[in-house]
Amino acid sequence: MTERVLEVSGLEAGYGQIKVLRGIDLHVDTGEAVVVLGANGAGKTTTLRAICQMIATKGSVKVRGKEMIGRSTPDVVRAGVAHVPQGRGTFPDLSVEDNLEAGAFVRKDKAGVRQDRDLWFSVFPRLAERRSQLAGSLSGGEQQMLAVARAMMSRPELLLLDEPSLGLAPIIVQDLFRRFGEINKEQGVTMLVVEQNANLAFGLADRAYVLEAGQIALSGSAAELREDDAVRKAYLGY
């Protein structure tokens, strides 16, 4: 059996009086790409925010066996989790280069950081062309590339992606997901992706969970779920 990178059990979270997550169990193993599908309001974004301890949570979130509930967000980042939030989450007033530098904030190895920066510039040449431009002036697709590269600069064990397709042109989204596949398969980075676009998500993922009203309604391998009638009707539209 491969090692668990992330193990979530009985996770509950909400905003004020409103409970959004009502006991979620999921896990991600080393090297896997796992997708969480769900409609608007199902709790996808909240799940990722809860894993990163950005909101008050109950239950258990273990990263490589270490309990994260009650720790701070920077602690979770230091444990090896990188989160690309919805709406990109770059630093709009910082240059592209400084964004990457900030992404490596928890690292101490200066030479390694420089190496990684050049690596991501070679993966996304568009970013290299715009290295001294302010991130806020990039196009949506470029900002998403930057957000992913920024997250990868911390050399995470687990990459969380929150609806990376949101608001981007289909051709750009396809290209992005191809990159995600490369990052997952070639660089061996474990991923947990939250998506509404099931077609894209199944193309990337090994396994999938379906989230409905704050609970896991279905889970299985991507191939299985793709054939599931309910999933097909609800998320694939045929």
């Binding site: 950005m54 701070s72 989450g89 770059t90 400084d98 530098e101 900030a102 928890v106 806020g136 997250a151």
Partner: protein, 358 residues
């Protein structure tokens, strides 16, 4: 563009034509804007030239130059206090109304260290800067951090209450008698040299150089160090900062400490020209610094200094040549600057307009 699309269907052509029209419209608007900007700068320049001609004709070139150089003193100090305001505004989105009083407290600390504990002036200033920095860090931790950072109104009110607390505390600690202020520079009556027929006091030159160095150091600190990167990240996006592992609380605390240290330095330097000082001496300085920070655009360190110099010059020149204003109504100049900037150009001369592509 038209020839490229001619082979395509009529529908596409119409869409492209419409897009072109929109682009053209945006371009014309941009052109009109920059033309307006050139015109505005032209008007400003014409006013300055006309005023200078009038001023030189009235009292002669030497006095004109002398006043310009004298005004740089206040200008640099307003700039330095404006930097302190800008640092906290960048980090928290709030104007720290207590900035002047914190700096005033720092000045009394400096006098205490020098007069009663025997420290040389420079060490006393440095000591006061360190103590104010530590005090501001403590204020941030106990009075600011408990509040939701997005609730600007409550934090603003907290800074107002800090204003009153310090303004009440200093007279209790140090009494209400006016105090003489020591200077680290040669400050005797004849410590000056002549330049272009203008008297420049060593004391003034010292202030210009000190503030200049401080600005340089702060810029380097923000641009070149890790804590500087953290500070800029937190100013730009609080949530993403947490997600890259920056502890935002400690970073904001650093911002408060740095701002307080700069403010204290500026107050220690300007106090000399207002001596003997009492616990209200920073009130006027703070208003002029508000004007400078507003004019500079509130989010640029260098902008704050340049705007500070402009405000200092405007204060001295208008006060010197327009009899109606004199020194009594000089505050009005500062308030007028604030109002005009907010109406004509809310992002100031150097501020970045919040334009974001989403």
């Amino acid at each position: 563009m038209a020839t490229e699309t001619s082979s395509e269907s009529a529908g596409t052509t119409a869409v492209v034509a419409k897009a072109n029209e929109q682009i053209g419209g945006a371009y014309r608007a941009l052109e009109a804007f920059s033309a307006k900007r050139v015109r505005n700068l032209g008007i400003l320049l014409a006013v300055v030239v006309a005023f200078s001609v009038y001023a030189i004709a009235q009292d002669g070139g030497r006095i004109y130059l002398q006043r310009v150089f004298d005004s740089l003193n206040n200008g640099f100090v307003y700039g330095a206090v404006a930097i302190a305001l800008v640092l906290i505004y960048k980090a928290t989105g709030v104007i720290n109304f207590a900035q002047g009083e914190m700096a005033m407290f720092g000045t009394f600390l400096m006098i205490d260290l020098h007069d009663y504990r025997g420290f040389p002036v420079w060490l006393a200033i440095l000591g006061a800067m360190v103590i104010s920095g530590a005090g501001a860090a403590a204020i941030e931790r106990t009075l600011i951090r408990p509040f939701d950072p997005s609730n600007h109104l409550s934090i603003t009110i907290v800074t107002l209450s800090i204003f009153f607390i310090i303004n009440g505390l200093v007279p209790v600690l140090y009494g209400i008698d006016p105090e003489a202020v020591p200077t680290p520079f040669p400050g005797a009556k004849d410590d000056f040299f002549n330049f272009l027929g203008v008297r420049i006091r060593y004391e003034n030159l010292g202030i210009w150089i000190t503030v200049g160095l401080a600005v340089l150091l702060i810029s380097l600190l923000l641009k070149r160090t890790k804590i500087g990167l953290a500070f800029r990240s937190v100013s730009s996006n609080l949530e993403s900062s947490r997600l890259v592992g920056i502890s935002t609380g400690r970073t904001l605390q650093f911002g408060w400490a740095l701002a307080a240290a700069v403010g204290t330095l500026a107050a220690c330097l300007v106090a000399r020209f207002n001596q003997p000082i009492d616990f209200n001496f920073m009130g006027k300085v703070l208003i002029f610094s508000f004007a400078a920070a507003t004019l500079g655009g509130l989010d640029s360190v260098l902008g704050a200094v340049i705007a500070g110099l402009m405000v200092g010059v405007a204060e001295t020149m208008l006060g010197g040549y327009v009899e109606l204003i004199g020194s009594e109504l000089a505050l009005l100049v500062a308030l007028a600057i604030i109002v005009v900037v907010l109406v004509v150009r809310p992002s100031g001369l150097f501020g970045s307009k919040k334009v974001e592509r989403v």
